[in-house]
Amino acid sequence: MLQERIALTGNEAMALAMKQINPDVVAAYPITPQTEIVQLFSSYVANGMVKTEFITVESEHSAMSAVVGAAASGVRAMTATSSQGLAYMFEVLYIAASNQLPIVMPVVNRALSGPINIHGDHSDTMGARDAGWIQLYSENTQEAYDNLIQAIRIAEHSDVQLPVMVCMDGFIISHALENLEILADEDVQQFIGEFIPHRPTLLNLDSPVTVGPLALYDYYMEIKRAQAEAMMRAKPVIRQVGQEYKALTGRCYDLLEPYKLDDADIAIVVLSSTAGTTRVVVDELRQEGVKAGVLKPRVFRPFPYEEIREVLAPVKAIAILDRADSYAGFGGPLFKEIRAALYDAPARPPVVNYIYGLGGRDANLNDIRAVYRDLDKIAATGWTDQLVRYLGVREEAIVHA
């Protein structure tokens, strides 16, 4: 397989993948830090580099609505967003999933208002975690590119037929230049294949269809159950697509990416770019003889609870890093779900939560080292009374905006 090595920002890599996917319809609306993706895509359209029909909508609500209309018409349709844009789409996200439309959307993670903030955290996509979309989180530019291409296959698989969000950290990845390997256009096309609609489409005049009916207590639950089953079926499909992608590129993708977890006493679980920082600290600690490890879930929806339980159960103390708070008074979303997954572990290890990096607050090596130091203590006693902690907050400077 001929791959080219080039330097691109995360946004450029996402835009390039979109160009190579060459969707039939793209709806576009700008928002920092996603803007560059739609600008680049506009230039592909303007220069005849894609076959795409481009809709420059007046809002993200309309972007997702138009993409739903296009996907229900039997074409490959995409859009991209961040933060407030994703929040603005909210009701239509659920409708896209309920209609089981294989829409793929890059989301450049950014903090939700308020206060308004343009930098990266996961509050936007975590807010949409129960919208029925598959969610893939990307650590770096390479993974963002690779995830977007695989997302097409996952979404469109006949067993799945669900929309997919491909998440990437705003600025930290979207605006950082990194080397990555890219595929040739033909190879991307061959990998994703022709778009084949698996449900009746609006434009098939021979068999008219009513999309989006009213379904009350007599049918609603069956429709929702079918949707839930599609999400369950997505797990093996994501793995299978990952294996095929590995055969093509040599790069390996699974539900989870464990690092030095096999014999780990203490472990951090973290999504996206911070996983890289954490691995550096793990290597340092290993040099010092500390058995530290890290788990990076690549897939958050469907939630790989069995796989997570299997790799984490033998660990003596675990810290879950959440780049989003759920304001429930009980930590972030990743924490709660992983803690629940470990309930059935033979020996339940202590699991603590660190809320970190909100609004783009840097999470540096020292922050991560501090977490491992805490974990060391927790592992020693097997117990802590402080389940939810905040990383890198100036406790003395807490203010009301």
């Binding site: 039939d24 319809v25 709806a27 076959k51 795409t52 029909e53 809709i55 420059t56 909508v57 007046e58 809002s59 609500h61 309309s62 609505s65 138009a66 993409v67 739903v68 209309g69 296009a70 996907a71 229900a72 018409s73 039997g74 074409v75 349709a77 009701e91 239509v92 409708i95 609006l202 434009l203 098939n204 005049l205 008219p208 269809v209 009513t210 999309v211 989006g212 009916p213 009213l214 379904a215 009350l216 049918y219 429709i223």
Partner: protein, 309 residues
């Protein structure tokens, strides 16, 4: 010329198997539109509202054509996606049939929550016809006021009371707002004048680009009138010049119908329970105001259409 009853015998894209209230005018509007469309293939989008909930109760559907309901605010944006997908497939040679795209929305889904989505779709120039069936309130949720509700109408969120005479604002002039988008065709219709309605639908579908039609669609439940009045009440809204019939064809304003004798507004509102509170001594002032405003709007329209009053 066939009469309405004869026309209604034809099979169209909207079947009578829906569950709207008896005497509801909205399905009549849809059937007249369907008859105007004839055998031309169409895809319909519908905003949330009475028409949608009563015509698509799973596993049944009243729509013989392809149909999509997405949400309340986004019928226009949704259909713009469908129309764009159609253009994509056409360009790729995967589809060659001519298909028309029609959106239906209630006044709430069009004048209010869906206005941005509609404005965007019209501005972008999609080849689609948007039809608002204006029954002057959010009927599906129980008769709340919208920006289309007439001045002084009693609704559940603009109730008449000790210190209130009902809704205190004049209705938004949506047809003019749509015309101001410089789309090729915008028009106002009423199902009482069905030949006019059907001609306008055909015109709207024949233009290159977006078109908009605003249709008066009485709701017996919300307006509280005797269902036997039926389209007669619709006719009165036209005869009193509350709901004038006109079109804006490529920027040219044209009156479609001028009543021989303009009826007083009282003849229309007297038949409706939502104006009952005006028929007291105190209400006479309000009725006068109402008449004055109707007169003003009517002369404005005559001027725009270069007609003499």
């Amino acid at each position: 010329m066939p009469n309405l009853k004869e026309l209604m015998q034809h099979e169209s894209f909207f079947s009578p198997g829906h569950r709207m209230c008896a005497g509801c005018v909205a399905p009549l509007v849809v059937r007249q539109v369907a008859l105007a469309v004839g055998d031309t293939p169409v895809v319909v989008a519908n905003a949330t509202g009475c028409l949608e909930v009563a015509s698509t109760i799973f596993p049944y559907t009243a729509w013989r054509c392809s149909f999509i309901h997405n949400a309340f605010a986004n019928a226009a944006a949704t259909l713009s996606g469908v129309e764009t997908a159609y253009r994509a497939l056409k360009k790729q040679g995967k589809i060659n049939k001519e298909i028309k795209f029609i959106a239906f929305g209630g006044d709430g889904g069009t004048y209010d929550i869906g206005l941005q989505s509609l404005s965007g779709a019209m501005e972008r120039g999609h080849n689609m016809l948007y039809i608002c069936y204006d029954n002057g309130a959010y009927m599906n949720t129980g008769i709340q006021r919208s920006s289309a509700t007439p001045l002084f109408a009693d609704t559940t969120t603009s109730p008449a009371g000790q210190v209130s005479s009902g809704k205190s604002q004049w209705r938004k002039d949506l047809t003019a707002i749509m015309a101001a988008h410089n789309i090729p065709y915008a028009a106002q219709v009423a199902p009482s004048h069905f030949m006019d309605l059907m001609t306008k639908v055909q015109k709207a579908l024949s233009v290159d680009g977006p078109s908009f039609i605003n249709a008066m669609a009485h709701c017996p439940r919300g307006w509280r009138y005797d269902t036997r009045e039926g389209v007669e009440l619709t006719r009165l809204s036209v005869e009193t010049c509350y709901w004038p019939l006109y079109e804006v064809d490529h920027g040219k304003w044209k009156l479609s119908y001028k009543p021989k004798e303009k009826k007083p507004i009282e003849t229309w509102i007297r038949k409706q329970g939502r104006f009952r509170h005006l028929f007291t001594d105190k209400g006479q002032t309000e009725i006068k105001w109402l008449q004055q405003r109707v007169d003003e709007e009517w002369s404005k329209l005559l001027e725009r259409c270069k007609e003499v009053g």
